[in-house]
């Protein structure tokens, strides 16, 4: 198991290298002179040229890229062109906010979706099942910036129960995490329902019931445990998405997360911040995926045996 984890960590290195090259290249292709963003509009030609020279913008693409990689290897992800702040420090300063939002949204989503998914699987083809699937369809189709504004209008403006945005305590977390969590819940409900339907039709479920196990025990111990693999996969994938891509929700609620940071940096041609943030997001996603694989091993002994035999 340990060797498997180590192997996965080693494979991360070429993945990150390729990602960094692609991002660097994409920022280069995007056009727009970073000097125009850094200097005021009335900067002279001489000043612009001096800045390009100093920042190395005149160097060929590969030279600039290799210089950047050398910096990363020595622990320096560079400084933002706009704020001058260290990229790693800025990213880490925002990461905990995204983790907080994403984690809360995920917990909210699991609390709703797993029981709902089980319930609808057990009541397949009834009106309860249909209602839940309509909810799932609605949750997945609805743009989350619109949902966020609607929740703000209702709970913040009309009812005055919750703040409209910003940070400052658990009250500020409720609306953004419900906004992000509802679309997660919709997807997880469908995944749970689908996984449970596969499992409850298995012979061992009938056998367990026939042997006298209680209904609850059959559903949760025998059924849910075996349905967990696809559910965990969906949770892992969605968690990665939430960690790295809730820029819209963060903008609507004024939540200072990494999604918003990346979008603003792209608009300002802040290449070190964009490249550094995306590389760190890749590391985060790789760690999350690895964690999901490790959780599989705890849920399914067959998978653990596979990891152990393959090393």
């Amino acid at each position: 198991m340990f060797r498997y984890i180590l192997k996965r960590l080693v494979i991360m290195v070429p993945t990150l290298l390729i990602t960094s090259l692609l991002i660097f290249w994409a920022m280069d292709l995007a056009g727009g002179d970073p000097v125009d963003q850094i200097l005021p509009e009335n900067a002279s030609v001489a000043q612009r040229d001096a800045m390009r020279q100093q920042m190395g913008f005149n160097d060929p693409f590969m030279i600039r890229y290799l210089r950047y990689i050398k910096g990363i290897v020595t622990g320096d992800m560079g400084k933002s062109y706009i704020s001058g702040e260290d990229v790693f420090k800025t990213f880490m300063g925002r990461l905990h906010m995204t983790l907080l939002l994403g984690g809360t949204a995920l917990i909210f989503a699991c609390i709703i979706s797993i029981p709902l998914g089980i319930y609808t699987a057990l009541h397949e083809n009834t009106w309860k099942d249909t209602a839940a699937m309509v909810f799932a369809l609605f949750g997945q189709s609805m743009p989350n910036f619109w949902l966020g504004l609607m929740l703000i209008l209702l709970f913040s403006l009309k009812l005055g129960l919750l703040p409209s945005g910003g940070t400052g305590g658990i009250r500020y977390l409720i609306l953004p995490s419900v906004t992000v969590g509802l679309s997660l819940a919709a997807l997880l409900t469908r995944t749970t329902r689908s996984a449970m339907l596969d499992v409850i039709r298995q012979d061992y479920m009938t056998t367990a019931r026939a042997k006298g196990a209680s209904y609850q025990r059959v559903i949760y111990n025998h059924g849910l445990r075996n349905a967990l693999i696809p559910i965990i996969t969906a949770i892992g994938m969605q968690f990665s998405y939430v960690m790295t891509g809730s820029a819209l929700a963060e903008t609507v609620f004024g939540w200072p997360g990494i999604g918003r940071l990346v979008v603003e940096s792209i608009n300002k041609r802040d290449t070190p911040m964009v490249t550094g943030s995306i590389i760190l997001c890749c590391v985060l996603m790789a760690v999350i995926n690895l964690s999901v694989d490790i959780i599989y091993a705890f849920c399914d002994p067959r998978i653990k045996a596979q990891y152990s035999s393959k090393g």
């Binding site: 995007a30 056009g31 727009g32 002179d33 970073p34 125009d36 963003q37 850094i38 200097l39 005021p40 509009e41 009335n42 900067a43 002279s44 030609v45 001489a46 000043q47 612009r48 001096a50 800045m51 100093q54 920042m55 706009i82 704020s83 001058g84 800025t90 300063g93 925002r94 906010m97 910036f145 504004l149 703000i152 209008l153 913040s156 403006l157 005055g160 703040p163 409209s164 945005g165 910003g166 940070t167 903008t251 609507v252 609620f253 004024g254 200072p256 997360g257 918003r260 940071l261 603003e264 608009n267 300002k268 041609r269």
Partner: protein
């Protein structure tokens, strides 16, 4: 005795109606003024940034040599400098107030002014990003503790305005010399001092204890916070909820809700930011003046204002920002090519084009208001037989493409108030990096130089009027409109200094509860 008492009583009663020089607010005042802004503040070193949003902070904590009053015809008022004069064509002398102090209590002297201006002039981009505005300055020196001499290569009517910009707010030489002070730029002589910056969330300033200027109205709010609320609708809701006291740039679509809220005021005043349609006059087809004039006559500016701004703006003919010195309002401009479709069609024919024969590209940024203006212009030009292909791109790419001269037409904006030289030079002067029109016109260059250096103010005014009229006829751009400044706030807000260009000063603002 009775008579004396009566006289004394009358005198005392009359005196009670004489207001104090600066009357303290009556009633309860909210401790913390919270302002919801539409962008993040990204830099707190005045000379290392060029974003107007950051000036909100410098207006609290720093002061400049002089203050340019945008609401009073850009009159120059003393701030740290008590007086100033041109000794001759190349020496500008400032005399400082003698009691100026930084927020840490240390005195501000000519050494700090010399240090600041010399640092600002540095070509090292790690020290200054604003040296471009100071290219005329050859030397800055202290004649004594309170007198500063600025030596220039030539006389300039507008150098004084450049020195009044926030990036040149005076900083403390001693703070930079202190090895324990990692952020010396935070120290200024303004009434507030920096308290906290939470990345991505807010910046807070707190009332300082050492403010030196007792001749000015004292600041009232104990703390002022700029909260970054990037979504306009959420910002408006936060105002209605009382989470913020001021909403900068409320969404036009939500204004009626804010106006109906009896706790709020929606304030409108004339703006100064000019939005325009520019041409690349160096290449076909817009190297053809008649064609540019035809396009100008085809654009229905009132429709644009109605759709984009819900009517809150004014169309414009002059290239200068509204309210700038020598600005010619629409009725004062000679000639002009205003909306007139039959005239547009005639001019198109005179330019040598048949309707439907011409397709042009319009470069437009992807954000508001450009993305809304572009299709309107497309429709207007279609009416006279010009096909327009809109090329959308983000602002950074648009600026680079226009600097390289790839565009045919482009939508952009300009916001300079006091310094008309900046407008003429940066938009129209031959080979200037931001001359996106690619204009090379000797008359424009000569007049721009004359306006900068002419000491006879009557002549100078006439030069600027002549140049505006010349540019109206030449049509390197079609000025479209200036939007009104719209800002919504708590009805208890007092003391705010609001400008049409968005360079507000909150240092005397507070909420009377």
């Amino acid at each position: 005795m009775r008579k004396a008492f009566l006289v004394a009583f009358v005198i005392c009663s009359l005196l009670s109606f004489v207001p104090a020089a600066f009357a303290a607010p009556t009633g309860k005042v909210k401790d913390n003024l919270v302002i919801g802004v539409a962008q993040e503040i990204n830099e707190l070193n005045p000379m290392m940034q060029n974003d107007q949003i950051n000036n909100n902070c410098f207006a609290l904590s720093h002061e400049r040599l002089i203050f340019v009053d945008a609401n009073n015809g850009y009159e120059i008022e003393p701030e740290i400098a008590e007086s100033w004069k041109w000794k001759d064509d190349t020496h500008l002398i400032f005399t400082l107030f003698k009691n100026v102090r930084f927020s840490n209590g240390t005195p501000l002297t000519s050494a700090d002014v010399v240090f600041t201006l010399n640092r600002a002039r540095s070509s090292d981009p790690t020290q200054s990003k604003v040296s471009g505005t100071l290219s005329l300055i050859k030397d800055v020196s202290a004649l004594d503790d309170y007198t500063v001499q600025v030596t220039t290569s030539a006389y300039s009517n507008e150098l004084i305005y450049s020195l009044g910009a926030y990036p040149l707010a005076i900083q403390s030489k001693a703070a930079y010399a202190d090895p324990n002070n990692k952020k010396p730029w935070l120290i200024g002589s303004g009434p507030y001092q920096f308290k906290e910056w939470k990345e991505g969330q807010y910046v807070t300033y707190t009332l300082g204890k050492n403010y030196w200027n007792d001749k000015k109205e004292p600041p009232v709010a104990k703390e002022i916070t700029f909260k970054f609320l990037l979504d306009a609708s959420q910002r408006a809701i936060a105002l209605q909820n009382g989470e913020i006291d001021v909403c900068i740039d409320p969404p036009i679509t939500d204004l009626r809700f804010l106006q109906n809220d009896k706790n709020l005021i929606v304030h409108t005043q004339a703006g100064t930011r000019l939005f325009y349609l520019g041409f690349n006059v160096a290449k076909a087809p817009f190297d053809n003046q008649k064609l540019r004039q035809a396009v100008s006559c085809a654009i229905d500016k009132e429709s644009i204002i109605s759709i984009v701004l819900d009517g809150r703006g004014k169309s414009q003919t002059s290239v200068l920002n509204r309210g700038a010195w020598s600005f010619l309002d629409n009725d004062k401009v000679k000639g002009g090519y205003t909306y007139d479709v039959p005239r547009a069609k005639n001019l198109l024919a005179e330019a040598g084009y048949k309707p439907g024969a011409l397709t042009v590209e319009l470069y437009s940024a992807t954000d508001d208001p450009y993305k809304t203006i572009a299709p309107i212009i497309q429709a207007n030009l279609k009416d006279i037989g010009i096909n327009v292909a809109i090329k959308s791109m983000d602002q950074a790419t648009l600026k680079t493409e226009c600097a390289k001269g790839h565009q045919q037409m482009f939508l952009w904006r300009w916001n300079i108030g006091a310094r008309v030289d900046e407008t003429y030079r940066e938009l129209f002067y031959t080979d200037f990096p931001t001359n996106y029109h690619q204009l090379k016109d000797k008359y424009v260059d000569q007049m721009t130089d004359k306006i900068l250096t002419e000491k006879d103010q009557a002549k100078r005014l006439q030069y600027s009027i002549d140049l505006q009229n010349y540019l109206v006829e030449l049509v390197p751009q079609v000025p479209l409109y200036v939007p009104d400044l719209v800002i919504a706030f708590n009805k208890g807000l007092k003391g705010a200094y609001l400008t049409g260009g968005g360079a507000h000063n909150w240092s005397r603002a507070y909420i009377q509860q």
